[in-house]
């Protein structure tokens, strides 16, 4: 405790004397980032216990960019084996956590959230050589639709889209994507970022991601409740959104900017 206070005092003095000093983090000069690998396109890598020896993906790049803009010289990643551990109440050993965490009211009581960095609406991915590509819910209704059972996507198909032909509800994501590849399905409905990654990994197996159905789900960075880092993370994130940095990351890792997909109505 004493050491911690002394460290804090030093940090405060430093902050007071030099305006460009990095903001206080768990370890001075290091931004510690909590992850819950793997999530294709967002964060994949290699670990020894919690220690991350290799990491790549949209969220990895984003964390590095934010640290750089905050003037924090180093980034260290720590991995949680269980996603839920990231959202446990109480103190954390990381400064920020990125793990496609969607913002919900119950979660906001356990951690603080940054401004969102990605909208995670439901996407529509069509099979190869489908003509014409659907541009509305009415057009989707005429197609053979497929989704994974018991997901937001299947609910959307059954309750909102209500296709004329009985939709195929499949048991797992690999069977779902395979059915689209073999053209048993004209289109599949699932989380837009997931579909974007699927297509990025196997571009010659599917047609385009033709649009999204807005569900208002958003991904944000989690911080310890009351973290003093939040205003600076928010400011850096807003800049990254405004100056196109985030759009570049989305195009690099997801192949498309899911936020710019046409909304199907």
């Amino acid at each position: 405790m004493k050491a911690l206070l002394a460290g804090l005092a030093v940090a405060l003095v430093l902050a007071a004397t030099a305006g460009a000093e990095p903001p206080p983090t768990k370890t001075s000069g290091v931004l510690t980032v909590g992850l819950a690998m793997p999530a294709a396109g967002f964060q994949v890598g290699a670990v020894r216990g919690r220690r991350v020896v290799l990491a790549k993906g949209l969220e990895i790049d984003l964390a590095r960019i934010l640290a750089n803009r905050l003037g924090i010289p180093r980034v260290r990643f720590v991995n949680e084996r269980l996603f839920s551990t990231l959202l446990n109440p109480g103190p954390k050993d990381w400064d920020i956590a990125l793990a496609e965490i969607s913002v919900t009211a119950p979660r906001a009581q356990r951690v603080d959230f940054s401004t969102p960095y990605l909208s995670a609406d439901q996407g529509v991915l069509v099979r190869r050589s489908l003509e014409p590509n659907p541009k509305s819910i009415a057009a989707l209704r005429k197609l053979q639709l497929c989704a994974e059972r018991a997901t937001t996507g299947s609910q959307l198909v059954v309750r909102t889209i209500k296709p004329r032909r009985k939709p195929l509800l499949l048991s797992d994501p690999s069977t779902l994507s395979y059915a689209l590849f073999t053209k048993r399905c004209d289109a599949i409905v699932a989380d837009a970022p997931t579909l974007a990654v699927l297509r990025r990994q196997a571009p010659d197996r599917y047609g385009p991601l033709v649009g999204r159905v807005v569900t208002h789900e958003k991904y944000a960075i989690a911080l310890e409740t009351g973290s003093s880092l939040r205003p600076q993370i928010d400011a850096a994130l807003r800049t990254a959104i405004r100056d196109g940095t985030l759009e570049t990351l989305r195009r690099r890792w997801l192949g498309v900017d899911t936020a710019k997909l046409p909304a199907l109505r």
Binding site: G45, R48, V52, L54, T175, R184, R200, Q201, D204
Partner: protein, 362 residues
């Protein structure tokens, strides 16, 4: 290199290689002083010999990839060049293979997962290796290789067993309303071998479009499947194609430049099929072969895809059905056949049928 050299080489490499699926249950012992590494040809893995005796020497040889002679026969690897071995240890039947981060480069799922298959099948060739744990930079890979849970050691079965059920019967082919104009076009195509007479029904659809594309490929026209004035005139002026090379009996010629397969009997061409062959880097190997293995439902071990109605004629290179048969080279070296012709071709190519792959046909 002359075409004859290529043929000879193909025959030599063919003799030294073994298709994985054919021997997946048996662990053939390699000759003393040699190890076997899992490389790729077409849609399957093949084992080739290298000098060495340890798992470490085998993995090193695998990372080095195909020899020049093998590469000339379109034997490939999905492991990025420059990937280095950090260490190999074996304990209780588990080989731990630690690789540099280059092994995880790129975003293509089929390439990333094929790398794991190559490594696991190379290491499990050794009698004392039942499981393979893959490490990247000393760490356990999480999500780096789509389709595999690399948190735990993998067996050869983990990488060879299909992970999706075989495709169900696809939806029926959509055909338009019949018209006399379409019937006339189909009859002209059927007379020249681009369709079967039984399919002349006057109804437009993908089958007719594919026959038009086949004709356009043969005549050297734009491959758009649209019967415009140029295509119509060329069709009217044309006669039934004849075999390109000399030969007798029942056989198949694959024309890489035209993206066509010709089914032949003596001096007659019975059918001309619209096909897609290997893309750059995966070219279908030229040479003379014979169909040696047939599977109604074939699973591509490295690329994790079902290949219905597969007839293999060299290494992992086969005629097979595929959902997409674009008018340009696109496969891993196989000859893709549209689904309405795949079963017919399967029946036309029993084991032993001669297959000649020609780079140039004019």
């Amino acid at each position: 290199m002359t075409a004859r050299d290529r043929c000879l080489r193909a025959a030599v490499v063919g003799a030294l290689t073994v298709v994985v699926a054919a021997v997946s249950s048996a662990t053939a012992t390699p000759r003393t002083g040699t190890v076997e590494i899992a490389l790729l040809q077409g849609e399957q893995l093949i084992y080739v010999e290298r000098p060495g005796s340890t798992v470490s020497s085998a993995v090193r040889a695998l990372l080095a990839g195909p020899t020049k002679a093998e590469a000339a026969n379109e034997v490939t690897t999905q492991i990025p060049s420059g990937t280095t071995l950090r260490g190999v240890s074996i304990k209780n039947g588990v080989a731990t293979v630690d690789l540099s981060d280059k092994i995880a480069a790129g975003t293509r799922a089929e390439s990333l997962s094929a790398r794991i298959t190559q490594i696991v099948l190379t290491a499990t060739r050794f009698r004392n290796v039942r499981y393979v744990r893959i490490l990247v930079k000393g760490g356990t890979p999480l999500g780096l290789f789509p389709g595999f849970v690399t948190r735990y050691p993998l067996t050869s079965k983990d990488v060879t067993a299909p992970d999706v059920p075989p495709p169900k019967q696809p939806a029926p082919i959509k055909q338009g309303a019949p018209s006399e104009a379409t019937r006339v076009l189909q009859q002209a195509l059927a007379d020249r071998g681009f369709m079967t007479a039984a399919d002349v029904d006057g109804r437009p659809g993908p089958r007719t479009t594919s026959a038009v594309v086949a004709f356009q490929k043969w005549a050297g026209l734009g491959r758009d499947g649209v019967t415009g004035a140029a295509t119509r005139a060329a069709l009217a002026a044309s006669s039934r194609p004849t075999p390109i090379g000399a030969g007798s009996g029942h056989r198949v010629e694959v024309l890489l430049d035209r993206q066509l397969a010709l089914v032949e009997d003596g001096s007659q061409v019975t059918r001309i099929l619209d096909v897609t062959t290997g893309k750059p880097g995966f070219e279908t190997p030229t040479g003379s072969y014979r169909v040696f293995r047939k599977e109604q439902r074939s699973w591509s071990v490295p690329y994790k895809v079902w290949l219905p109605w597969a007839s293999y004629f060299v290494g992992g290179v086969a005629f097979h059905e595929y959902p997409d048969v674009p008018p340009f080279p696109a496969s891993h070296g196989c000859v893709r056949v549209p689904r309405w012709d795949a079963q017919w071709l399967y029946q036309q190519t029993p084991t032993g049928t001669p297959v000649t792959v020609l780079g140039r046909s004019r």
